[in-house]
């Protein structure tokens, strides 16, 4: 299976390449706006409205698309609130352009090339406006704010859904909690949306190989009594059992 990973320069892209590359059943192709030093097949691309985006798709079976506008800085933030705070260099226009236009170009090329499955990475921040005492899961309507780092990934979901409904490819929308590397938490206060980078990469890799319906939405974050959102569906469909629960981190 040939897998295209966008946002490959990010720590998540790195971790995902490592996780998926461990299987001989996977052949990886990486892309990003910025160059990446790697022995793997890497192609620099801005996901523009031209043939270069279609060329990325040649022979690809599955796409894992991280729509965020720039590689995450260290220490690792996720595709979410923590990350948004770290991405001061990305303007609102960058966020919207990356998550809408570039995502549209990528999905159009994927549909034309006959890609079987697209995995779209989004954010659990879409549910933060709900009261903390509610059991929010995939059945609940996203409630994006107008913060570009929150709204733009949602708009990418909106675009992805239309391509899926037209039958172009199977779509798996994965909404991730706040990505951190549990080895680098330092003295940070506990965040009930934390998701360890390694657990995220493992879960995404599981979604690549799993039998899933034509359109699936799954929520990923760490699992403990302090977790903010339910991951029960991911546990049922993917056997999602994150290794890191951050239980050693005080509230």
């Amino acid at each position: 299976m040939v897998i295209l990973i966008t946002g490959a320069a990010s720590p998540l892209g790195n971790a995902l390449a490592e996780s998926l590359g461990a299987s001989s059943a996977h052949t990886l192709r990486l892309t990003d706006r910025t160059p990446v030093e790697t022995q793997l097949d890497f192609r620099q691309s801005g996901l523009d409205h031209d043939d270069s985006t279609l060329d990325l798709m040649k022979g690809v079976d599955t796409v894992v698309h991280s729509p965020f506008p720039q590689p995450f800085p260290q220490p690792l933030p996720g595709p979410l609130r923590g990350q948004a705070a770290g991405l001061s260099a990305a303007s609102p226009a960058d966020w919207i352009d990356s998550c809408t236009r570039c995502t549209y170009n990528l999905f159009k090329a994927a549909a034309e090339a006959g890609v079987r499955r697209v995995i779209y990475l989004s954010s659990l921040d879409l549910f933060l406006p709900y009261d903390e005492n509610l059991v929010v899961n995939e059945n609940w309507r996203p409630r994006p704010t107008t913060e570009p780092a929150v709204m733009a990934p949602y708009l990418g979901e909106f675009i992805a859904e239309e391509f899926c409904l037209e039958g172009g490819f199977d779509l798996v929308c994965l909404r991730l909690g706040h990505l951190v590397d549990h080895r680098q938490i330092g003295g940070q206060p506990y965040d009930p949306l934390w998701l360890d980078l390694g657990d995220a990469a493992g879960a995404i890799a599981a979604a690549v190989d799993a039998e899933l319906p034509h359109f699936a939405v799954l929520h990923f974050q760490s699992v403990s009594t302090r977790s903010r959102f339910s991951t029960e569906r991911a546990q049922q469909l993917l056997g999602f059992e994150p290794a890191v629960d951050f239980s050693e981190v005080p509230a």
Binding site: I96, T146, Y154, E162
Partner: protein, 244 residues
């Protein structure tokens, strides 16, 4: 009321200006190239937030008629990012009303074309994947998100086919698209959206089908009639009645 019009020099914009002239309005008419108009005017690229923000200074309301259909980059810059910039500027300037415009297939895309009748604004929105439709649909979704998060009413007027009131002789009796209106009635709809009592609307984000009264039974303008008082004057009868 001081009204900023974005895309004021396109196909629809001048008819919105015309509908507002003579009323109690001070207009600032903008487009990517400065419009030739007796009103306050300036060049504004809606993809540039600073330009939109500056143009919105001192305005009470905004009408966004900007649109770009074909170019892959500019379509998203105008239809999606441009709508974000307009909504954000409206909020940051404390406007209570923003009128956005777009094509009807931001909601009723190709999945609705061959099936279903009596289609109204409340159907689940599915634009399909066409560049124009989906980039405008994303803009409309941005309007919904802004109105849900900020104290602003965003009224979205949806059109499709603009027709002259009377057909060319060769076009009589040949029928027409079942979502059609004249520019004159379209401009009037924008005026009504600027004047409707916001307290009478069910939510801060309402979408209206702006089509004249057509016998096809495909699309309904009942909501625009009921909530805006839209009463299209041009029935386009010579298009859809057999020529005798």
């Amino acid at each position: 009321m001081k009204v900023l019009i974005l895309g004021g020099d396109g196909k629809l914009g001048p008819w919105v200006v015309k509908a507002l002239e003579g009323g109690d309005y001070d207009l600032r008419v903008t487009d990517v190239n400065e419009p030739d108009t007796p009103h306050d005017s300036r060049a504004v690229d809606v993809a540039d937030f600073d330009q939109v923000m500056s143009a919105a200074e001192g305005m009470d309301a905004m009408v966004n008629c900007s649109v770009l259909r074909s170019d892959g980059k500019i379509a998203f810059d105008v239809n999606t990012l441009g709508t974000y910039n307009a909504a954000r500027a409206a909020v940051e300037h404390g406007m209570s009303r923003f009128v956005n415009t777009g094509p009807h297939f931001t909601i009723t895309g190709s999945v609705y074309y061959d099936f279903d009748y009596g289609i109204a604004e409340e159907v689940p929105a599915h634009s399909g994947t066409g560049l124009y439709a989906l980039s405008k649909a994303a803009g409309q979704e941005i309007c919904r998100i802004f109105s849900e998060n900020h104290p602003i009413h965003i009224l979205c007027l949806l059109f499709l086919n603009f027709k002259p009131p009377q057909p060319d002789p060769g076009a009589e009796g040949l029928d027409l698209n079942s979502f059609s209106v004249t520019f004159r009635d379209a401009g009037e709809a924008a005026r009504l959206a600027l004047e409707v009592d916001l307290a009478t609307l069910p939510s801060r984000n309402e979408i209206f089908f702006i089509t004249t009264d057509l016998p096809h039974g495909k699309y309904s303008n009942a909501k625009a009639r009921r909530l805006l008082g839209f009463d299209p004057q041009d029935k386009l009868e010579k298009y859809w009645r057999k020529k005798r």
